[in-house]
């Protein structure tokens, strides 16, 4: 019986010691976690700041000024734009031209040819 009691008492002391060390470890972990949370917060603040900075640096006003100063490009004129279908058909023509010369209907050329032919027939020499 005595042995049992001693054993139980020993267990109790051991358990106390274990709980205490567990508590210390938990506190340490908690501090570490708090540090991490703070670091995370700092990083996320920094990220937000950088994002704002990038947006500020790429605002149209600034880009436009830089482009005017450094690039030798003219702004796109509306007439320079073509629909996607035209680009695709253009690509098709290029692909075709590798095999044999592409024959593209040219309305204006046809018109000029027609009128000059008519002029020739009409005796305007």
């Amino acid at each position: 019986m005595r042995t049992l009691c001693l054993l139980a008492f020993g267990c109790l002391v051991g358990l106390f010691a274990y709980t205490y060390s567990l508590k210390l470890k938990t506190r340490a972990l908690e501090t570490e976690a708090l540090d991490l949370v703070t670091a995370l917060q700092d990083e996320s603040d920094y990220l937000a700041l950088e994002r704002a900075e990038v947006s500020y640096l790429s605002r149209p006003e600034r880009i436009e000024e830089i482009a005017k100063k450094t690039l030798k490009l003219e702004p796109i004129a509306p007439a320079q734009l073509v629909p996607w279908s035209a680009v695709v058909s253009g690509l098709g023509a290029v692909a075709q031209s590798t095999g044999q010369p592409a024959r593209k209907e040219d309305g204006i050329a046809a018109l000029i040819e027609k009128t000059s032919a008519e002029a020739a027939v009409g005796g305007l020499r």
Partner: protein, 606 residues
């Protein structure tokens, strides 16, 4: 155990040792049971903690990311470009009780922030009765580090959030402003707090919800810049402009000048904060003729070729003159193209007051307009509609509406007759949802054609852009000052692009423009129209507006026939004003010169 046995002996009395021994055993068993229970409970707890899920334990000292000012959602444009965001800043405060040398501290702090008044700061810090004094708000992390490095223990840095607007002045009026506590005070910022506050609670600075606007930052900048050019060029008091999607009412750009930098809102004068597009009403002048003509066409009052008398018209004691109209009657089409006041007045008279009011009401021009960027005041219109009102409203006087409301009405005229509601948020309206029909698709098609003619050979010639089909209407309104009409004007141009199948309404209004040079007039055809043209030229590539084919290559025939000579031409030549034509290099990007349509010149422009 001996003690326990003696205890039992005392309790049980001397009568029976056996009973005492029995008691002792029972007590022992009871005690054992208690220990066992204790161990079982402890083991249970340990097992419970061990088996608990791996969630982060809730920390006793949870860091509050925004102690002083609340965090707000980010605002982005339709392409996701940042328009407004929060950054971490620090507020610097001091506890004068802890300061050793106030002058020394004030000098050190003053060296870091030259804008601070050092003497006042030293006075503040010398006040020993105080325990808390604000020194400076809005310190950047770098400045906060510098303050920290001073090593003055009495200084406290309080982290907080501050709203910044990376796009600067662009869209300042739409976004609105916040106060020092980061609460929305106007514009979208106010709307977010009022309407979206519950849905959008930010967790941290990096992970915040987004509010996506319908604005396009590129278009917005182009619009604001061209308007600024116009304001300078025509020495105007104010200019405003907007780009509106005619199909779903999304506002792609909206600018009102003079404007302000929302990052330095305290420096902005009160009148600069006014968003004229929404919160002001204007008498817009002849652009209203579009509504008058659309009403006449839609209600069957007249067709486009029917003629009306355009000679001077008596309204009570007042004679309404049209200096450029001849004695011959003008067709509805010509009244619109050349902007004849008397003609439009007679069309309105033919339609009748009832119909006119009903039509304007159906377009929502008598109601205030509520948008995310603010609510407009109630339009100003006659309470009792008299014949004189019907006549003046026909050419846009005697009725004052917010420009955004008018642009939405114009959108209905060109989009097939569907009413739209302007919005600054991305529209959730599906393509199959249809709004109320205001006019028939046929009337809408005729209106598009008429607007195209205005730019081809009417008052809007200088709004033409090479390669793009532009249609529009000019409007020159006399400005009211102290209750009287003056010689100052408010000029507008409302354009629809591409006019064959309009996608956008572009509206420009210039308040009190001066003639560009001596000898030129200051009508809308001379300033608002070229400004609108310059804007369209710049924004067309951004909005995928492709050039309108003018020539059918396969068929080798032009799509458009040249305009036939008209009988009015000889009459109209008398006009001393205006030498219309194409935009002659107004913008930084000058247009190629090429011959405009038939060059007969006539404009009343009012």
């Amino acid at each position: 155990m001996a003690t326990l046995a003696s205890l039992c002996h005392r309790i049980g009395g001397s009568g029976s040792a056996a009973r005492a021994a029995g008691n002792a055993r029972r007590a022992q068993a009871l005690l054992g049971l208690c220990f066992a229970c204790g161990f079982i409970i402890l083991s249970g707890r340990v097992i419970h903690y061990g088996a608990a899920s791996n969630d982060m334990p809730i920390l006793a000292v949870a860091a509050s990311p925004s102690g002083l000012a609340k965090s707000r959602p980010d605002i982005v444009d339709r392409n996701g470009r940042l328009l407004a965001t929060d950054i971490r800043v620090y507020w610097l405060a001091a506890n004068p009780k802890l300061i050793v040398s106030a002058d020394d501290a004030a000098e050190k702090i003053g060296a870091l922030f030259p804008d601070l008044d050092q003497a006042a700061l030293a006075r503040k810090l010398r006040d020993r009765s105080s325990r808390f004094e604000w020194i400076k708000r809005g310190l950047t992390p770098k400045q906060a580090d510098a303050v920290h490095a001073l090593g003055i223990p009495a200084l406290t840095l309080l982290p907080t959030n501050q709203r910044v607007y990376p796009a600067g002045n662009d869209a300042a009026h739409i976004l609105g402003i916040t106060n020092v506590d980061n609460e929305g005070r106007s514009g979208i910022e106010w709307y977010i707090d009022q309407k979206l506050a519950a849905q959008l609670q930010p967790a941290s600075l990096a992970e915040r919800p987004l509010v996506k606007l319908s604005l396009d930052l590129g278009v917005q900048h182009a619009l604001a810049e061209e308007l600024a050019h116009a304001m300078e060029r025509y020495r105007a008091q104010a200019v405003l402009g907007l780009v509106l999607d005619v199909r779903n009412g999304e506002v792609l750009a909206s600018a009102s000048l003079p404007d302000f930098d929302p990052n330095r809102r305290e420096q902005a004068a009160e009148q600069n904060r006014q968003n004229r597009v929404v919160t002001d009403v204007y008498e817009l002048g002849s652009v209203f003729k579009s509504l008058t003509i659309a009403m006449a066409l839609d209600k069957g009052v007249a067709d486009r070729y029917e003629t009306f008398d355009a000679s001077p018209l008596a309204i009570g004691h007042f004679l309404l003159r049209d200096p450029h109209a001849g004695r011959q009657p003008m067709s509805v089409q010509d009244i619109f193209i050349h902007s004849s006041n008397t003609g439009a007045a007679r069309i309105a008279m033919a339609a009748g007051m009832e119909r006119q009011q009903q039509f304007l009401k159906s377009l929502g021009l008598f109601d205030k307009i509520e948008t995310e960027a603010g609510t407009s005041p109630l339009p100003v219109f006659p309470k009792i509609w008299r014949p004189a009102n019907a006549i003046t409203v026909a050419y846009g006087h005697g009725i004052a509406v917010p420009p955004l409301l008018f642009a939405s009405a114009m959108a209905s005229l060109v989009n097939g007759g569907e009413r739209i509601k302007p919005t600054f948020l991305l529209s959730e309206k599906g393509s199959d949802e249809k709004g109320d029909k205001v006019i028939t698709p046929e009337t809408s098609a005729t209106m598009r054609d008429l607007m195209r003619l205005v730019v081809e050979r009417g008052t809007g010639r200088r709004a033409a852009v090479a390669g793009i089909g532009v249609g529009g209407k000019t409007g020159t309104a006399l400005k009211v000052k102290d209750g009287r009409y003056t010689h100052d004007v408010i000029n507008s141009f409302v354009a629809a692009v591409p006019i064959d199948e309009p996608r956008y309404i572009v509206m420009v209004t210039i308040d009190e423009p001066k003639p560009e040079m001596a000898g030129r007039n200051n009508e809308a055809s001379q300033n608002a129209a070229p400004t609108a043209g310059a804007i369209i030229k710049r924004i067309a590539p951004m909005l995928d507006i492709l050039p309108t084919p003018r020539f059918d290559e396969a068929g080798a025939t032009p799509y458009e026939q040249t305009a036939p000579r008209e009988p009015q031409r000889s009459v109209l030549r008398k006009n001393p004003h205006e030498f219309g034509g194409f935009d002659q290099g107004y913008s930084a990007y000058s247009q190629p010169q090429h011959a405009p349509g038939p060059r007969y010149s006539w404009s009343y422009g009012r």
